[in-house]
Amino acid sequence: MAIDFTTESIGMKQIGHGEIVSDLTDVVRYLLAFVLLVSVGCTDNTTSTVAQENITRVGVSSITFNRDIAPIIFSHCSSCHRPGESAPFSLLTYDDVYSHRKQIVEVTQSRYMPPWPPETGHLPFLSERKLSVEQLAKIAEWVDSGAEEGDSANLPQTPVFTSGWQLGEPDLMVEMEQPFTMPAGGGDVFRNFVVRVPAIEDHYIAAYEFRPGNPRVVHHADIRTDQTNSLRDLDSIDDEPGFDGLLDLSATPPGGVFLGWTPGRVPAQPNPQISWPLQKGADMVFQLHLQPTGKVESVKSSMGLYFAKSPPQKIPFTMSLGCRSIDIAPGRDDYTIERSYILPVDAHALSVYPHAHYLGKHIHAWIVLPDGTKTTLIEINDWNFNWQDQYTFREPLYLPAGTKITLRYTYDNSADNPRNPHHPPKRVIYGQRSINEMGELNLQLVLNNQNDFRKLNEDFGSFQLRSSLADFEEILKSDPNSVLALGGLAAVYISRSEPALAEPYLLKEIESRSDDIYKAKALLQLAIVQYQLGKPTEAEQALVQATRISPNLARGWFLLGDFLSSQDRFTEALGHYMRGLERDPENIFILEKVGDIRLRNNELPEAKSIFNKLLKIDPKNFNAFFNLGALMLREQNPAEAIHYFELAAESRPQVAQTYNQIGIARGMRREFEKAIQAFEKALEIDSELLDAHLNLAMIYEELGQHKLAVRHYRHHLRMPDPPIAATVKLAWILATSSDETVRAPQEAVRLAETGAKVTERRVAVILDRLAAAYAAAGKFEAAIKTAEEAAQLAEQKGQSDLAKEIQARLMLYRQNVPYRQLKAP
């Protein structure tokens, strides 16, 4: 082996004195090598491997990039280390890897890369990115031995990655309306972005792909839905899109499924077990963790959604077990929390997602089966907040009823923790901001059936309320003005339907809140509670105050409108809805309410324009179709009414009232067969829709089918306080039907007497029906007397036709003959 001493190899360059000196180290190194080689050569003539190991290996190694290292890099690194992905440089070629080789050794040895914090040796996860001990050694040896490229024949094919959407064109794509500008410097940013979903039907989502837009900046994303649309209002807190801070309870994992993204996450293939519902009108919320890169960056994230053909096969449930009374003193390096819950039903766990902030150190969660077997769900020895992730089990984990789930986390709030955000360390309490701390274990469960879901939901729900109560009360001991605890306790009592207990906490929370938007939200909550407590004046005051301090809170106007509507103060309600619309002109919920009121006020042109506006925003809006149908009925246009009601039925097939209205419209057109069909359809959906019974009864009566008429009248009259008209109509049939199997004189008398009593014997036709009932029952004296009364009344009221009819019947009664209707043709 010859050592080349030419000027190039020892780096002597024709530049100047300084440069020669700089290569002294190289010269020495080569001299040493030469000396060693010579000395070895002198003592041993064989080129044994032992001898070779005594020499610094130059150019001799069995490990090459092409054969041994490339496969590792391609399978464990390249998916992120390639253009357009999260990593700052590519690792796709020999040159790439060579120019980072020492760094690669170091970051793999320290287990910083590839990022996979969980300890192995427990339950296996999907897509585990850990390198084995052998792989680590290989990489190190390769670098040590000169990092040879090797034979190109051995190089495996560079992995090919799908560009664009990984699962193909999505059925629906949603994205942030405006890009967010991430500053060049400063610390990490945690920001929430409300993303509107174009109004569509409800859908189940089988798969999704989140695209950060700027994968070098977006470090992590949590995705939720907000069905209340209330988080939209927070978007206007400052000029930049989105808002910082707490994601309140309005934003939830949709349908009990966790959605998220981390660098390198491959979108999951459609899983029929856990498709999740995207409800029409709900907003999506992207909670993003952003890291500065040193230059100003733009972030516009999007999400592709793939529809499922049917609801999930199993019932998903997100279980979030955690502690909110975290309170870590400065300097404490072993603060520990522990929480447990026992499952009341069978379940399968699909994934686990531990969560803590900067001070988290040791994460451990495990289960104990009813037979005593203990299994670790996840363990992380050096928690890194920047690399939190959701870990999916390779096989769904069966958890029989009675399984105890426990989390035990330890925190380090000492100065020795380099990730401590406070310098010197400060007291750290629970909170969602990154300077606060959290301790949570999120489990994605699936349940076998609705019963189990209900049971778990109830049981875990009460458990959460109990834990929350305990946690918040604990917090109040040291922090009596903690808005988190005050608001939290109010929320607990509200969900337990104990508004009286919630009220004092809300009042105190409002007092303690300095932030207008959150104060306004608390005031809204207070208004609802006070209304429930029968304090309408206070409730209204709270609402007015809320909308005054935060006029942008469209929801405030909406609630104020609702409140006034419930008091039948429709004009005032309308005024408040309109102000809400000023802030949020396309708010479907408010538009629907305004349309309702316009219709109620018979302001038909205004109502029409509202409904047409709704249909522009939401082309299948049920409310708009239904109300337009009602409007057409009012305009005596049953053909158009039917058209709209049919559209309404298409939009929401399971609303009985729609078919009832169709029936009414058909009835107006005397299309009795079709009317009957419609009413029957309504009753199929809701057998207790009493209006439909009444309508059917009246049609059957018209058609002379008294048996059916009576049946439906009787059904209709089951309601408490039935309308008199129906009572009396039934009485009439029961008294005078030509069909003797239908006649029931006693019942007729009873019904007609009720009718007469309720109307204080001041309605002639009712007295007439009563008389007929008496006659049918053989009580002719009473019949005559009542008929005479009726006739007199009719004359007085100028109802001459009715008076004539009554007189005719009177003559029969005087003959002791009851009145009978003619048989229907």
């Binding site: 700089s22 180290t25 040193g294 920047n386 310098h423």
Partner: protein, 188 residues
């Protein structure tokens, strides 16, 4: 280490006598680069070794900018030294532009400057005093503890402290710190 000591000793000797070099270093203005532009050196000369694709170095851009803005008018000379041989004049200029660096850069493909001061990682700061002696070397601040271990905020500001001391004619309290970043030797 013995070898390095010899090297630096010789280095100091040669630097003082080496005012006119035949350098092939070109700066980002496409001008020949000279480490020492005149017989009298500025109060401090700062070389910050960097790469365009090093995320740690890039994250320091705002900090470097603010240091430049603060000390430039006191005569401190600050330069970014690009150590990746594969860089070009346009890629360096684009990088300076993207990250809004107010200072100049210089491409060091043959690692002349790297070897001159024995820089090992990017970003690494090396500060010469007015006597052309190395007064400080190491990290810019302690934001990075290690790969993957980043503080929410730096707790020391080593480069700035060194510059303050030099401008006040005080000895630099901490002359050497360990810098965390991408290895320059990987580019050999």
């Amino acid at each position: 280490m013995h070898v390095n000591q010899i090297a630096s000793l010789l280095l100091c000797m040669t630097l003082t006598s080496c005012s006119q070099q035949n350098s092939t270093l070109i700066d980002s203005e496409d001008q020949p680069f000279l480490l020492w532009q005149s017989a009298e050196a500025p109060p401090a000369t700062v070389l910050i070794f960097t790469r365009t694709d090093c995320p740690i170095a890039n994250r320091y851009a705002p900090t470097v900018r603010s240091i430049y803005e603060r000390y430039h008018e006191h005569g401190v000379r600050i330069l970014l030294v690009y150590v990746d041989p594969k860089e070009t004049l346009s890629s360096i200029r684009r990088h300076l532009d993207d990250y809004q660096f107010p200072c100049h850069g210089v491409h060091d493909p043959l690692h002349e400057l790297v070897n001159l001061v024995q820089a090992t990682v990017t970003p690494e700061a090396v500060v010469f005093d007015s006597q052309r002696r190395i007064a400080y070397r190491g990290r810019i601040d302690d934001l990075y503890v290690d790969f993957g271990k980043v503080r929410p905020e730096p707790t020391t500001h080593d480069l700035e402290d060194a510059l303050e001391s030099l401008l006040a004619n005080q000895p630099v309290a901490v002359a050497e710190t360990k810098a965390v970043g991408c290895y320059i030797s990987d580019l050999n």
